[in-house]
Symmetry: C3
């Protein structure tokens, strides 16, 4: 594999230490509120309302489009772009590759959410197409991360893991996060960005270090779009921070808001409402105080 400009080997030592990373997370939360950055999306119709509301709740700005020239234009307008492959329409055949390419040309970081990987022919084609202009952040559950590493031929790494037991199954996690560790690190090294694996324990890596964090609530799995909206919020954070910080900040925000919302709700309906409220008022220092476990990749 000759991946041109993408780092195929890890740096010899972690780029940042814990204190620097926590300070950077706090700054990201504050900067989003101060700057109201625009993170446009091409995303899943099922959850796009929740994605937009989550992006607004943390202080960002949202705009969703479908058409190829609109994707190219928002790639230039936005501070970062969120591409979620959950519900493909025929026009996406043009829109997704052209938008990813426009991001590369404009230097706009983009976040990939490979929802539904393995379902249908077009999704596979699109994921293969965007490999040439890769995302700054990949966010998915364990089986999606493993599947993407395989699809992109990040081979030795991904093949060690074995296939997810049951193949694609809607949007639920069927693999454990740990099983996706090797694939996540391989993807991060390939893209030169960060990868966030969502699960009971979340794993975020930039290919050099692996950070585990946790929190949230089982109720997050009873609300559609918890993962998608996390991807959208990661894009908002990527407008003001490097990929690792952005992915980790969004994940920590979600865990904090999820935990707090679960403490005063009656079920999935009131959980989602409280969750947006808690996203809106989470203090930068509380986000930066997330439990983080570090190890070298």
């Amino acid at each position: 594999m000759a991946e041109s400009s993408h780092s195929a080997t890890p740096p010899a030592f972690p780029v940042v230490n814990e204190a620097v990373l926590r300070a950077s997370m706090a700054r990201a939360v504050a900067a989003v509120r101060a700057e109201n950055p625009l993170a446009p999306s091409i995303t899943n119709t099922v959850t796009q309302n929740f994605v937009a509301n989550a992006q607004l709740a943390v202080g960002g700005s949202a705009a969703m489009v479908y058409l190829p020239d609109e994707g190219e234009q928002v790639a230039v307008m936005g501070g970062a772009v969120y591409l979620n492959l959950g519900t493909l329409l025929p026009i996406y055949k043009q829109t997704i590759p052209r938008t990813a390419r426009a991001c590369a040309e404009a230097g706009t970081p983009w976040v990939l959410d490979p929802v539904g990987l393995g379902i249908g022919q077009l999704r596979t084609e699109l994921l293969q197409a965007v490999r040439a202009t890769p995302p700054a952040i990949v966010r998915g559950n364990a089986s999606e991360i493993i599947g993407l590493a395989k699809l992109w031929g990040l081979g030795a790494a991904a093949s060690e893991e074995g296939a997810p037991g049951e193949g694609p199954r809607g949007v639920d996690t069927t693999d454990e996060v740990d099983a996706a560790r090797v694939a996540a690190v391989a993807l991060a090294r390939f893209t030169g960005g960060a990868v966030a694996v969502s699960g009971p324990v979340d794993l975020v890596t930039d290919g050099a270090m692996v950070v585990r964090t946790e929190g949230g609530s089982p109720l997050m799995c009873a609300v559609t779009g918890s993962g998608c909206s996390l991807g959208g919020v990661a894009a908002v954070c990527a407008c003001v921070a490097d990929p690792l910080t952005a992915a980790l900040t969004a994940t920590a925000l979600y865990n904090l808001a999820g935990e707090r919302a679960a403490a005063h709700c009656e079920g999935p309906g009131s959980f989602q409402v409280a969750f947006l409220d808690e996203l809106h008022r989470a203090a930068p220092e509380d986000v930066a105080a997330a439990p983080l476990l570090f190890e070298t990749a």
Copy 2:
């Protein structure tokens, strides 16, 4: 009409008695929670978020798609499929018939929600096309059920009813449920499955018996997607139960959750939130204790 394998005459006596049916309803609620079955949908963009959240709230799993090959694939992956014709896109010309056919081939029961029947040419074409591979459950309001029976030429039965006074009118009920009784029974006998007519009093039939039940709240009409999400939940129940049980269980769940939510809300916004909470915690025995009135079809 030579409907091949579909029963055109009712069984000589009801297949189940009341006690058996109630036990079966309780088992369905519990089984959904235990098994987290996947019921994929091709559905209405207006309400698909609510459909997915309702499916998750009762314990099921959701996945929405638009493309023909994805429809075919989820027909094999899912325990049951939900097809709602509320907001048609051009690609549905291929997706809906191919998905219904794939369900028939895979033996996957599917639920038809003929939302908007009478509006536009494509909707009529699609409803005619899927007649060849009919649904296990049809869910609609009275005018949709009458309209579908007519469209499918289930003639004597449907024509007795007369046409709905005003023709199609968005998604609101313009006919009374009782007026759709003959059409519902005719549809159930044609499909060999169950039909659920939603209204102030709900009517569910398998062509052999007619069951009336009630509950819910007038606020359900002030929230978009009450009907659609009931169809989605019926599909989740159809993953673990026969069509009559599934249609009746979903209807009873909705009535129970609607009644309870209405008791502690301030309007349609807080009603919808409380409704999802109540769907999530309804006990199997409470669902099975729904008021049911039986008669022979």
Copy 3:
């Protein structure tokens, strides 16, 4: 410019006085609840659930479609139609102009929400196309109203304003409402209808008088679709009232409900819930008691 049947000059004196207008607003709120009018939409997938729920909360009825012949059909069925250009699909190239034309032929007033004006080629083409069969109400933020007046060549008026500083930027207001006054008046004179400019202070005009009103809450900007759903509610009001009354009633309803919801919420999630509740119970006389500042256009 020879605008055929559309009034290009203002009436010599205001058509209505304040007392008449307030009485007309109260009547509109009550009439919507009494008559449950249907206001179909072709609208933004991000916010269409909120649009429909807001339309239902005030007492109206909703139906969303995408296909050209469905647009033409609902133009005849509905009391008014809402066309929002937020998330364009390829089929809109046919659907939007044909629906606007069908409204003109049927005498059905329609509401235009030029969301995203300036993004992509198709949006510009569609806005140019519907100029020939103009809306009864235009609703937008200041930069959209200024942009539309320019696009439609309502020249002297619009060019005085200067361009919005940063061009299109998602769906956020980047101009102040006052800066759009001249453009709003020019648009209203061109269409012969009303224009509503949303902002911290709202401006509504029929080309003869300008009415300013305020209220609401900053939290409305933290919920996606506040503007879109206002457009949808304006369409519901346009089923039972003249364009000026409809635009002003919808705006006053929003400000009242927003203010009340903000008084007892915890953040954007609970705000949206409370907002729908407050829309549902706002009394006609309270809506008609909105703070209104009048001046001659």
